[in-house]
Amino acid sequence: MTLKRCYLILFLLLATAIADQAFAESGNEEAVKTAFLYNFFKFIDWPKAASTEKVLNLCTTNDDHLGDSLWVLKNKTIGNTPIFIRRGINDDTLKTCHMVFISGSNNDEVIIKNLKGLPIVTVSDMPGFIDHGGMIGLVRADNRLSFEINIDTVNASSVHIGTQMLKLAKRINTEK
């Protein structure tokens, strides 16, 4: 293969990649939330003890309202670590999760309290979640989803969120 041809292939690959990138898509809410959860895994480091497990446990509480969308993560991996989905988890079992998605449940404060200080990332789409001591809140504004982070709770739990993700957060709150 000549060098010229190599460049051409490279160029075409780039072009298709760019064409794919230019997709300012629309999607249903569940799918967007699921994709956010997946992306969060890429930016979060768990302390050694928690990462001895061979899988990343993604848990949801009762009635997570993510429907079938969440199952698209069933065969996904982060690096070489597969994601394991456990839905409708409650009580102490939650403490074995890496990430917990709490949807529209009014006992979020109890869950937050139980998980306080543990290396478990709490995510919710409830309004004001991070102000109640949750770590990552998914918020809907201007017809788009974005997220906010309570950095104090995150730091207290000894998980680490990458700066790239912190930069993209819509709001970073410190605990009151």
């Binding site: 298709t16 230019a22 994709a35 992306n39 079938d68």
Partner: protein, 653 residues
């Protein structure tokens, strides 16, 4: 070499196919930055990506409503591409792509959560204080102009508007809101919303609106000593009370609402005694609805709906007959109920099928008009009958980047003799993932309403032989999105309307009007991650009146321009929303022109001053222009209010 390119193109195609074709949407290939730009959609009958829908959908959200301080649905609609509102100091009317006839919005389908709101006497689709919902309960507003609306049924003649209510979760607690504005205007609202552990979501809300109105209104047509030199003094009072409730339990949603609105009518357009404070109208409308939505399997879903609705209208008009003050009462009672079944399925590969059946029984269409003393009855009619609508639509994925959408609807309506069959066709081509082209054609009809059938303006008791109005609409659209939140939209449209109802030279209602609308529309919108928004749209339209040799039609502005700008301030502590609405001049019934006008509205909001507190301060019509609207009857042109202020406080706990 060519083979290599072909392979790469196929590779690129296969990538987008895997991204789009799976039954469950998978967006995990998007980066976190891209996810922040994904538009979240949840509309029931759209149920697909907006860039693949055979329509051109415009969407406003609760956040836009808050940012720009819109006080009513009419305010919000006035900010949408291609729409504009008019007002006759009693009702607000919607103009769609150049067509505006003060027709009580009977040619636009108005829906709340997919339930038809046009009542069954005048087909009114209310949008201002007479509208069912408090604007604070609105989550989203979707607007689809003519072409896309065939499957949505009767009244979707020029377009359709679906107002989606908030979930209780969005309120999340008890909420109190109070506002005060110019002309002694006050509004209070109390709401409670919650989503429980088991997923049950509830929302209840009550609100009261009260406006003293403009103290002195000047009407040139009444400028003579006998009628207070054209000054209507304390004649602009308006009140509205609203209740709304919604409970979502598993696959069921129960909702209900009522609005009761009183408005003094200062215009004395049709011979009423000017400046008599008894001239007023009252509109009361209510609905109850049950929805059942169920995924039958992973490829099909079912929607069932049942509803009961009512509308009561009563107007008091004061006339001077033979030097005697005579009170005239105009009263209507509408009651109707019905249901709907809809199945959406993807069981056939590359086909997305929708089947629907709608039924409505007009239980009561009662109209009465009489003078109180001496008693004389001009009108006393009632009707009832069935409406059945069947529709089917198939979105066929012909090629990976090409969708052909074909729809057909069949109607039975007790107020017309024919059984109209109307198609909708669309071709949607996505040559690039960022670019979509659409070619759309549809036709539909509007049955004469009960008032047009029975309440002939000059010949009471005479029933005209009326037929349905017809429209054919053609539209071509191009849409483009960048990866960083810029959207461009362009459209060319042509609407051919015939047999529209008008008054012939003898004063009978008849199917005589015939219009052709030619136009072009464009919009550019950019949203930044920090919440900044810049949006501009321009609509040109020419509505030609074929009954007048193609001359420009009354009430139709040729130029409509809109600019919206939102900016987060002080490190997100506040948000500024600036809106500029330009409406071109319009021809009046008497042949002269109502001036073009420019409205600038500025609104500042903050929810960071105190936990749970949301404050907003708005200035409407900043330039203080008394802009001109078309009146009816003797009032050729009405002058609207100048600058207005509003302060709003909302506490959630």
């Amino acid at each position: 070499m060519r083979r290599l390119i072909t392979t790469l193109i196929l590779l690129a195609l296969s990538r987008s196919v895997t991204a789009n074709d799976s039954d469950t949407e998978d967006l995990t290939n998007l980066s976190i930055e891209e996810l922040l730009n994904v538009e979240v959609i949840s509309s029931s009958r759209l149920g697909q990506k907006t860039n693949q829908a055979p329509t051109s959908v415009s969407i406003l959200t609760a956040s836009d409503i808050r940012t720009f301080g819109w006080r009513t649905l009419a305010d919000a609609l006035n900010g949408m591409r291609g729409l504009f509102t008019a007002n006759d100091r009693n009702y607000s009317f919607l103009g769609v792509r150049g067509f505006e006839k003060n027709d009580y919005n009977s040619r636009v389908l108005m829906m709340i959560d997919g339930l038809r709101m046009n009542e069954n006497i005048y087909d009114t689709g209310n949008i201002a204080q007479e509208f069912m919902l408090d604007i604070d309960l609105v989550e989203r507003i979707e607007y689809i102009p003519g072409s896309g609306s065939t499957i949505y049924g009767a009244n979707a003649f020029l377009g359709f508007i679906n107002v989606i209510t908030k979930k209780g979760k969005a309120i999340n607690g008890a909420q109190l809101a109070g506002e005060a504005g110019s002309f002694d205007t006050y509004k209070g609202r109390v709401s409670y919303g919650k989503q429980f552990d088991n997923g049950t979501d509830i929302l209840f809300s009550a609100s009261h609106y009260d406006s003293g109105g403009v103290e002195n209104l000047y009407f040139p047509a009444h400028d003579n000593p006998a009628s207070n030199n054209g000054i209507a003094h304390n004649m602009d009072t308006e009140r509205a009370d609203r209740l709304f409730g919604k409970v979502q339990f598993e696959d069921f949603t129960f909702s209900g609402g009522v609005v009761d609105r009183y408005k003094q009518v200062p215009t004395a357009s049709y011979g009423q005694v000017f400046n008599d404070p008894d001239n007023h109208s009252v509109d009361r409308q209510y609905f109850g609805n049950i929805n059942y939505q169920k995924a039958l399997n992973d490829k099909s879903s079912l929607l069932l709906k049942g509803f009961y609705q009512g509308y009561d209208y009563q107007a008091k008009d004061i006339y001077n007959f033979n030097d005697t003050r005579t009170v005239s009462i105009d009263k209507t009672v509408g009651r109707w109920f019905g249901g709907e079944a809809q199945i959406t399925t993807n069981v056939f590969d590359r086909h997305r099928l929708i089947f629907g059946l709608e039924y409505q029984y007009d239980l009561r269409q009662y109209q009465v008009n009489y003078d109180v003393d001496p008693y004389y009855q001009y009108l006393n009619t009632n009707r009832n009958g069935h409406r059945v609508e069947v529709f089917a639509q198939d979105d066929i994925q012909i090629l990976d980047d090409l969708v052909f959408s074909a729809g057909l609807r069949f109607d039975y309506h007790h107020q017309i003799q024919h059984l109209p069959v109307n198609p909708r066709l669309g071709l949607i081509w996505n040559p690039l993932s960022s670019t979509t082209f659409k070619l759309l054609y549809s036709s539909t009809f509007r049955a004469p309403n009960a008032a047009q059938m029975d309440a002939n303006l000059y010949y009471f008791g005479v029933n005209s032989k009326l037929q349905e109005e017809k429209i054919k609409s053609y539209e071509s659209i191009v849409e483009w999105h960048s990866s960083d939140g810029l959207k461009l939209f362009g459209s060319l449209f042509y609407n051919h309307m015939e047999k529209l109802l008008g008054y012939n030279s003898d004063g009978y209602v008849a199917n005589i009007d015939h219009y052709d609308a030619y136009g072009a529309e464009s919009e550019a919108e950019k949203r930044w991650d920090n919440g900044r928004l810049l949006k501009a749209s321009y609509t040109f339209s020419f509505l030609s009146d074929q009954l007048k040799d193609g001359a420009r039609t009354t009430g139709s502005p040729q130029n409509v321009f809109k600019l919206h700008y939102a900016e987060p301030l002080f490190n997100n502590y506040a948000k500024l929303g600036v809106e500029n609405i330009y409406i071109g001049n319009r021809k009046t019934e008497q042949g002269n022109l109502a001036d073009a006008y420019d409205l600038i509205n500025v609104n500042l909001t903050s929810d960071r001053l105190m936990q749970g507190l949301d404050v907003s301060l708005g200035v409407y019509n900043l330039l203080d222009s008394h802009y001109q609207m078309l009146g009816g009857g003797v009032n050729n042109i009405l002058l609207m209010n100048g600058r207005e202020f509003r302060v709003k406080l909302q506490v959630t706990f």
